[in-house]
Point group: C2
Chain length 249, copies 2
DNA sequence: TGCGCAACTGTAACACCTTACAGTTATAGG
DNA sequence: CCTATAACTGTAAGGTGTTACAGTTGCGCA
């Protein structure tokens, strides 16, 4: 239950994990170390608000994955719901679901049990580029049996979820995944920042000391790089991907 | 070093913490429990990208706070820099700062030592409404003395940083702070979401099955509620505050 | 020297957003 | 019953964004 060598070894492993397989092995190792039977990592990268790039690294039984996807459970999964609304870890047992009011979420957890995901916990993940994710671990044993050890493992698991996600972040910048975050020039970021503040092209040109045409030029280039079809979308993407540096002060 | 009763007590305290004073006491308790002398919590809420609402709850010596603010160290503080770029905890000792290249960050840490912040760690915080924050704990003892216990405390501290931030989130919704996140109607959120996707008023009207004038109407109302002076700014604020639900799939 | 690229500038037509005017319908709460 | 609010619709003038045209300057790199 959290001796120093345990988590240190897993952190080292996370810093070296390479490729999707490396992260799969890392999650497997974490899962085993803390006495779980299954895991799943899922994260959403805001390439688009409507259709984000989603990466799932699954250590779930195939039967459950197929059932889950076929029924569109992602939209009603109470663990996912919790992790998008809160940054606190969730121990599944703590969910208070009324079968009448929360019918669908209740069904998801009920059926998960039948597929061998009896007890478990979900860790909320939020990246520095607007990513929202979940890392869940589950056991085939009952909550009564696993509760004490899950309680004890939560701090370690929460920390490790950050390291797992950072390892995924490295995949992105290395280009191992079909989504590479665009790089903007200084001027493009400056123009986007002021556009996001509601300034017009002319106002931006006065702020930056350039001609109005040049401000328009930079904003167009930024939109092209972001695959945006309008200034509005460019602003939305830049903000959601954290490309516009919001100052801490 | 992390017996169950220790962190459980602090988590309970965080769930009941009320008001800024309650959170100040909570951070103090965490600091003492894990053998630190000072703490500081700082978070930035994206009311505006240029001028966000910033909340600081300080357990730092007044002399250091004044010195820090007078010299504008927030912009060059390497701990703050790290926490805005990464979600991993930072143990100050692990910073590799070259006095020649990283002159200003080096100076910040050097002077911090002279004010009694000798060794410590910073935990990155990211909230579900676009908040970016830092929770730091520091000791007057040297890194050599504190390293083992800091290493051991990191998982607990990282978890507690989430609970501290959630407690701050409760202050916001309770209206105890001079910033209340606006509430949008369903239609306003829908229109904003599609506007953020780069759709024009006419396209949004076709998607939602309403007249173009009505789409414009909802977007104007949304902009008014968000204190935005244009549709661009409304989109930027809605995205940065997480008011537009980006689906996990 | 040549190449790519960031940064810069201008004009013109057309599409789009903003503002201000003036309404209707339905639902929830005092 | 009255008020507030969500949701809905229309017109018109004027400001702003988008696209496509055609350039210049300066820097770093092969």
């Amino acid at each position: 239950m959290g001796s120093r060598t345990q988590i240190d070894g897993l952190i080292d492993m996370s810093l070296q994990a390479d490729g999707v397989e490396g992260i799969q092995q890392l999650c497997s190792a974490i899962s085993e170390t803390y006495g779980f039977d299954h895991f799943i990592y899922g994260a959403s990268f805001p390439t688009s608000l409507i259709k984000p790039f989603v990466l799932v690294i699954s250590g779930h039984p195939d039967a459950w994955r197929n059932h889950y996807q076929a029924h569109g459970y992602l939209a009603v999964d109470p663990a996912v719901q919790h992790c998008t609304r809160s940054i606190r870890p969730l121990i599944w047992q703590d969910l208070t679901l009324d079968p009448k009011i929360d019918e669908k979420p209740f069904t998801v957890m009920e059926e998960a049990r039948q597929f061998g995901l009896v007890s478990g916990a979900s860790l909320s993940i939020r990246g520095s580029r607007g990513e929202v994710g979940v890392l869940s671990f589950s056991s085939e044993r009952t909550a009564w049996q696993t509760r004490p050890e899950i309680d004890g493992a939560i701090p370690d698991l929460y920390l490790l979820s950050a390291y797992v996600h950072e390892a995924v972040g490295r995949l992105l910048t290395q280009g191992s995944l079909p989504f590479n975050p665009p790089e903007l020039t200084t001027r493009e970021r400056e123009c986007l920042l002021w556009a996001a503040e509601g300034k017009t092209s002319w106002e931006i040109s006065r702020i930056l000391g350039i001609s109005e045409r040049t401000a328009i030029f930079h904003l167009q280039n930024a939109a092209r790089r972001l695959n945006a079809s309008s200034r509005q979308q460019a602003v939305a993407l830049a903000v959601s991907q954290g490309l516009i540096s919001l100052q801490l002060g």
